[in-house]
């Protein structure tokens, strides 16, 4: 079983070495970013000893850059820092809102988008927004670096595609160009600080006539993983993103949902609400694209 241990390597190479040697020797490891999920799990559902590998000391996980083609968000950057960045908030308001929805001021000071993704909860709020924004996961491990589209990253409830010797360095998001807008909405029974019953993220691009030329739709909390819904995007592309188009996209989201019933909502309720959220988020994204 072994004991708990803690390490905060100074370089990416030494982090990968540590993760690899631990994997080879059968030592359980867990990568730590903001810790707002990890520490809760350590105290409740999963008390088993492990080596905690803190990646917050790495320069690479703290990169936040806005380039002409790519926005890079390091895996360890807390939501509060994203929210204080006016340029980023202007470019990706939906993604930043999806992070800002999670937890209290105190949680915002620690919790990262990278951690939300790696926790791989079906209800992780940033994941549908990342999907809508065509984010790509920048992963490093013993075999070098690789990029994985975010919709392929989460493989099940609490599981993802990374091997034990790998960790997430950051997220690449295509920089919005032209008339592009994004939005994320979730439903919770209270005004804040709760787990999504359903969520929907939309990013779309309009031409000068207001016709939609590109769209991506992601939905969350209505399946074992967040989903990309290409049928919903197809329902928007080529339209003026009017009510008819939004209703068709909503229907596509409801059709793609395969939720469970639990204390937060029933199957029927979640199927209905995820469509409504897609419709409303689509209207917000459209208005932001026009602004």
């Amino acid at each position: 079983m072994g004991d708990y241990a803690y390490a905060a390597p100074a370089t990416v190479d030494s982090t990968v070495e540590l993760l690899s040697s631990s994997a080879n020797s059968g030592t359980r490891t867990q990568v730590l970013a903001g810790g707002t999920d990890v520490l809760v799990q350590m105290r409740s559902t999963d008390r088993g000893a492990r080596l905690i590998v803190d990646i917050k000391q790495l320069a690479e996980t703290n990169v936040l850059s806005v380039g002409e083609d790519e926005i890079y968000i390091g895996a360890a950057i807390p939501s509060a820092i994203l929210n204080e960045n006016a340029e980023l908030k202007g470019l990706l308001p939906g993604l930043i809102e999806s992070a800002d929805l999670i937890g209290s001021t105190q949680i915002q000071g620690r919790a990262s988008i990278g951690g939300n993704l790696c926790n791989s909860s079906p209800a992780g709020d940033t994941i549908p927004a990342l999907i809508a924004n065509s984010a790509v996961c920048h992963i490093v491990g013993a075999d070098g670096e690789r990029d994985v589209p975010v919709e392929d990253f989460v493989t099940g409830v609490g599981t993802n595609c990374m091997a034990p010797h790998e960790f997430l360095l950051g997220l690449r998001v295509p920089t919005p160009k032209g008339n592009t807008g994004d939005a994320y909405l979730r439903f919770i029974p209270r005004t804040e600080m709760d787990i999504a019953v359903a969520g929907a993220g939309v990013r779309l691009t309009l031409d000068d006539s207001g016709a939609c030329t590109a769209a991506r739709v992601g939905i969350g909390a209505v399946a074992p993983t967040a989903l990309v819904v290409s049928e919903a995007a197809d329902a928007l592309i080529g339209t003026q993103v009017d009510d008819d188009a939004l209703n068709a996209a909503a229907d596509a989201c409801s059709a793609a949902a395969s939720p469970i019933s639990d204390k937060r909502g029933t199957v029927e309720y979640r199927i209905k609400v995820v469509g409504v959220l897609c419709k409303r988020a689509g209207a917000i994204a459209r208005d932001r694209a026009k602004a």
């Binding site: 810790g35 809760v40 905690i52 209290s104 001021t105 105190q106 949680i107 620690r110 600080m193």
Partner: protein, 159 residues
């Protein structure tokens, strides 16, 4: 378990402490350093009773490992008053009777101080959202919000 040696700065004082790798910063403050002003409520980041400042940012110390405090600057409730002189926010909590049992109070005061340093003139909605991660089961929050508003007014134009 191999203990981790941590050098950190708490309320302006350099401190060295040995921590278990899975100790929270809250454990380290209370049990390692004897600073028991910071309270444990839920230990899962929901209640805010353990709020401290970590490198100038408001966090739940129950969701930070003690080992993560290496090289960091931590400010706790013990550093809020100036000797025997209460901070304006502490004084206003007394005047408005913004506490009953008191377990949540250190967290509220640390969080309110962080708010007023970031935004000296918050409206009521801003105060309520900022403090939404601090739970109080006694007061019903109204007196706390009034105390913070009054503290903001006093800090803006000292009597």
């Amino acid at each position: 378990m191999a203990k981790v040696h941590v050098s950190t700065t708490v309320n302006g004082q350099p401190m060295d402490v040995l921590v278990e790798p899975n100790d929270s910063l809250l454990d380290t403050l209370r049990d390692g350093l004897g600073l028991t002003g910071t309270k444990e409520g839920c230990a899962t980041g929901d209640c805010g009773a353990c709020s401290v400042m970590l490198d100038g940012r408001l966090v739940c110390s129950c969701l930070v490992l003690g080992a993560e405090a290496e090289g960091k600057t931590i400010d706790t409730i013990e550093g809020v008053a100036d000797g025997d002189g209460l901070h304006v926010i502490q004084q206003k909590f007394l005047e408005h009777a913004a506490l009953q049992c008191g377990i949540c109070t250190p967290g509220f005061i640390v969080a309110a101080k962080a708010l007023l340093e970031k935004n000296p003139n918050p409206d009521e909605t801003t105060i309520r959202y900022w403090l939404a991660g601090n739970l109080c089961r006694c007061t019903g929050y109204d007196k706390i919000v009034r105390a913070v508003q009054d503290a903001a007014d006093e800090l803006a134009s000292p009597a």
